[in-house]
Every structure is written in structure tokens, then in C-alpha cells.
Subunit: 203 residues, 2 copies
């Protein structure tokens, strides 16, 4: 029987968070690793599957495609059981709040700096100088919640934690120092344990 | 009886899209207009309601706050009836795909240029030169869908249309010319009519 196929590159936090969600839910899907830097997402065989050439991409058994990491995670949470997306209307809204915030206020700066420093090998002066303070502002906002709470929403792991941890745990690769964010560091360890993923030494 | 209060500034597409969603759903809420440029979101009375000082902000009758425009829209769609968020799992995923895409691939460039040109009165040279081509790439991606479809997802209005139309209809204020995007222009008119909002002349 045909399964949902999830195409992604393990260097991409956006891809990993979809993969981790599927694994946490023990969803019976097929993970297909691609190498972005090697041009895999520009090859005809992948473009035949997803004309937009983006990853992560979830391809349903009938060929229909879902893109956008957080939309894929939401789809998995709503269709493969589990409680990563709470039923309580307010907690549910909080999860979506963090998911949208991650894409507009966290990922552009924290993942953006990491990609430019760790993969494109750019120097600090070649990276938009606004990104460092904006990334720290995102970490400070997380710290406000995580100093007194084990998880971003409610008292258990949700999609919010998986989405936000993906690039936070590798923030040091983008030049962010987490020393002053003890709540964030403890939370990284906690979420990595829940997801059974190997620490990268940022916590 | 206490109602949900929606705080927002009518110059902000992110605020308007939450307001339009509530109006379309005939949700019995209270709209409280603030003036960002006049500092209303930095005043103590608003900060007492929402310590993060962001708008749009939805404040539930018990005082709990939801921020992030698209999270507020999702909350309204899930709790005030209507069919702006489809039940079909794939269409639902498509709506979320557009909502996340709007925040990471459309709003930063199209709303970003509009704010800098129309409100901060900056010259083109003072605005990141990547934003114009990225905004046009977003419009081109929409055109691919809208040339042959009345709405972004399925055959009726959804949250996706409301979220994406908010800044697309005022894209000309950011220097974007929609002449080459006839599908987008027809869709703007269609969505404005459905939402019963006054055209701004971009279509």
C-alpha cells in the first residue's frame, strides 16, 4: 500500500521538524532524503513530484502535494493521531500563534544566520546586521515563557515545541550564544529527549 | 455579556484580515481600533491587556490573549462557525500552506515595501533591493493558481484568500504593478465583493 512520502534534507530544520513530527506520532510514512546543496530539489524527478521544487514536501498516496513545514506538521497532527495539536480552543490557538511567529519572527533571523554562516561561509559583515538583535529578541520572548514552563503551550509537547526547537537547538551555528537563556537551554534538552534526537551541544 | 475584543489598526493588513474574518463570520466581537503610528500600542492601557504590545490582538472574555493575525483568523474560523477552514483534510492543509506561505514569502516583501514607501516615505534605494523581485515571485506563484481558479483553495472563499488578499490589494502602494497578473486582479475584486469591502483600485 502506498504511503505518504516526505521529501526533505536533514540539514534543514524546516524539513527535520516535519520528520520528527511523523516519527513522534509513529506515522507510517516514507522519508526520502534529498541534498539541497547538491541540487537534488532542481532535478526533473523531484520537480515531477513537486513543481515548486520546495522541501519539505509531503506527497499523499494519490500524488497531491503539501508544502510549508508547519502546514505539513499540522496535517500530520490532525490525521495521524496523537495530541500534538491540543483540542482546547485556547491552547490550540497558542500553538498556531507560535507556529506563525516561528515563521515570521524566529526562522528568518535564527535559521537565516545559520545558513549564511555555517553553509554559505559568509562573514558577519556580509549578513544583515538587524538579524542578530532580532534573533536575540525571539530568544528573549521564548525565555519569558520557558523560565517557568516546561513547554511552550500547556504542560505537554506540542507542534509549537517541535517547530521552534528545530532552529533554536542549532542557533549557535548562526552565532547566537544561549548562555543568558537558561530556560531555553533546559527546554531544548527536554524536547530533544521527547523526540529522541541526539543533542548537538547547544543546551 | 463580555465579548472577544479585537484590537487592531485599519492601516495594517494583518489587523484588517482578522477583522474581515470576524465580520464575514458575523461573529459577535468588539473591534477596538488603535493608531500604531500615534503610539497607541505602546500605551500602558494597551500593554496592560497585551504585554507584548503587538496588534492584531484578540482578547478573550476571560482576558487571555491571542496574537499573530493568522492564528487569530484560525481561532475565529474554528470557533465562530462558517466554512472558512475546510473540513476536507487536503483542502484544510492547503489553507494552512497558504497561511504560512503568506507570512514567510509574501507579507515580508509586499507589505514590507508598502510600509516603507507609503508610510515611512522611503525611496526605492533605501529599501532592500531583493524585496521587489521576491514580491513579484509571490505574485507569480499566486497567478499560477488564480488564472484557472476563483479562489486559492477549493471553490469557495477560505481563510487563505482573506489572508493573502490583505496586502495584495494594496500592493501598488509598495510599487508593485499588477498589470501582468490578470488572474490575481480578478481574484482581488472577487474577494473584495465577498468580504463587502471597498475596492482600492488595484484590480
Amino acid at each position: 500500500m502506498s504511503k505518504l512520502k516526505l521529501f526533505g534534507d536533514p540539514i534543514s530544520g524546516n524539513c527535520l521538524k516535519a520528520k520528527w513530527t511523523a516519527e513522534y506520532l509513529r506515522a507510517d510514512i516514507e522519508w526520502i532524503p534529498l541534498d539541497i546543496l547538491n541540487g537534488d530539489t532542481r532535478r526533473d524527478d523531484f520537480l515531477a513530484v513537486n513543481p515548486f521544487g520546495q522541501i519539505p514536501a509531503a506527497v499523499l498516496p494519490d500524488g497531491r502535494v503539501i508544502t510549508q513545514s508547519n502546514a505539513i506538521m499540522t496535517y500530520l497532527a490532525e490525521n495521524f493521531g496523537g495530541s500534538l495539536l491540543p483540542q482546547d480552543p485556547y491552547e490550540r490557538a497558542q500553538v498556531f500563534q507560535w507556529l506563525f511567529w516561528e515563521q515570521n519572527s524566529h526562522e528568518p533571523y535564527i535559521a537565516g544566520r545559520r545558513f549564511r554562516k555555517a553553509y554559505k561561509k559568509l562573514a558577519d559583515e556580509e549578513i544583515d546586521s538587524e538579524w542578530l538583535p532580532r534573533g536575540y529578541a525571539a530568544l528573549a520572548l521564548m525565555e519569558r515563557t520557558l523560565l517557568d514552563n516546561d513547554f511552550l503551550v500547556g504542560i505537554t509537547l506540542t507542534l509549537a515545541d517541535i517547530a521552534v526547537v528545530a532552529y533554536t537547538r542549532v542557533a549557535h551555528e548562526g552565532g547566537f550564544d544561549l548562555s543568558d537563556y537558561p530556560g531555553v537551554r533546559r527546554w531544548i534538552t527536554r524536547v530533544e529527549r521527547q523526540l529522541d534526537i541526539k543533542p548537538v551541544g547547544n543546551a
